[in-house]
Amino acid sequence: MIFSFETWQITLFSISVGLASTLLILPFGIGLAWLFARKEWPLKSIVETVVLLPLVMPPVSTGLILLKIFGRRSPLGQWLYERGIEIVFNWKGVLIAMSVMSFPLLVRSVRTSFAEVNPRLEQIAATLGASPLRIFFVITIPLAYKGIVAGALLAFSRALGEFGATILLAGNIPGKTQTLSLAIYNYVQLGKDPEAYTLLGITVALAFLFVWCSEWLLRAERKN
């Protein structure tokens, strides 16, 4: 099928920023999930709740909070602006909106898979003299990797579907911040239904691919 330049541009932009956001949150998500699954610390339940908030809050509310944090009137926004870094109405805004919205999904999924790793294996490794870092990378991560991949896949698809927080923080600028979801909305508003249907087809195909992949991963896990 031959797509227009715009369709390609929107699709590639969405996929690459989505991918970047997933890679960006991956180390933080894994670290935090491990702290949730293996350690007890003060205020843990509060931090867990805050991290999960974007999952249950309306995305527009999350977007509004982000806009207030990164807008030029806020201290942080002002500080960034003076250093030439702009988040609002910029592709970086898309990246941040996607990251914040998909972070809880990643943490939840990875946390569960860490919890399923038998702590005895880690203890045995420790008695054999392995350092905690080595245990983490040689025992814990390899045993939990399917959950991590599934979590990353979920986070990536959530990032691609992101709409509410993105439109508030990054706007809907064709060629700059317009993602698949925003473009579909825009095309429908403009009455350009054929273009909207093309993008709709792309999102259905991508969603199919992701669900199929994660199901396949889970099936592989059950067999083991």
Partner: protein
């Protein structure tokens, strides 16, 4: 306690009867009409409908948004009785598709385009040409191919020979009120809105008024929607917005009355 409960029970059922009566009476002779209207009319129409409601048995509900989006919804068959658009194109489209009640369409109002900046802005912008300066990085504009205020603004900039250079700085937003909000927030350096919108905000200042003879002619048409089931009530409100009282309110907000 028992007494109290019984008393409350009684008053509740009396209330329920009244409610049912009130409800059936309402549907019998007072009607509620739905009026999709251009976002720029938000404040003025609210005030006008307050005046109307004080005298009339009918109720008016508004759905404010970008005229193109509203026209699209009407075209798709969304319930609407009276439509107030911010440009002729949207009304023409509905007219061509036969969605308007013949003989009810009228050009009601006019407005003026202005360039606004945040009230605390230190940038020296005093003419459209200043928008080309390097320190003006982002300019908020309603969607320039479809939303009336965006179409007017981009047409004006094209006529001035500035559009090609301004275009890369444009942040397209949903409607005129969204433009106002993004300038207020300081996240863009400037924006194009109607004079009447700039007038309601203390957080922005007007730096340039597009002269009426130089800018595109801004026209707000009104018409009854053909599929309306409450045409009498719609006609009643259509007459009211053309009454001297309503005209005074439109003028107070800075609109120009077209006769």
């Amino acid at each position: 306690m028992f007494q109290f409960n019984r008393g409350m029970h009684k008053s509740l059922s009396v209330g329920a009867v009244f409610f049912v009566l009130a409800f059936t009476q309402t549907t019998a002779w007072a009607e509620e009409i739905l009026v999709p209207a251009a976002a720029s009319l938000t404040d003025v129409l609210k005030e006008i409908s307050n005046g109307y409601q004080a005298k009339s048995k009918h109720t008016v509900r508004f759905n404010f948004g970008p005229s193109n989006g509203l026209a699209r919804q009407i075209e798709e068959g969304a319930p609407a009785d009276l439509f107030l658009s911010a440009d002729l194109t949207q009304m023409d489209n509905l007219d061509k598709k036969g969605r308007l009640e013949p003989g009810t369409r009228k050009n009601l109002l006019s407005n003026q385009l202005v360039i606004i900046v945040p009230a605390d802005s230190k940038l020296a912008i005093s003419s459209p040409k200043d928008l080309l300066k390097g320190e003006v990085k982002k300019i908020a504009l309603a969607e320039p191919t479809s939303v009336p205020v965006g179409v007017y603004s981009s047409k004006y900039l094209s006529d001035e020979g500035l559009w090609d250079q301004v275009k890369p700085k444009v942040v397209p937003v949903q409607d005129v009120r969204a433009t106002l909000a993004s300038v207020e927030s300081g996240n863009v350096e400037a924006g194009f809105v109607y004079k009447t919108d700039a007038a309601i905000s203390k957080k922005v200042k007007i730096v340039y008024e597009v002269p009426i003879d130089k800018g595109p002619k801004i026209i707000y048409p009104i018409a009854i929607v053909k599929e309306s089931k409450r045409k009498d009530a719609a006609r009643d409100f259509l007459n009211y917005v053309q009454s001297p009282a309503a005209k005074e309110t439109f003028k107070k907000y800075g609109f120009v009355i077209l006769d």
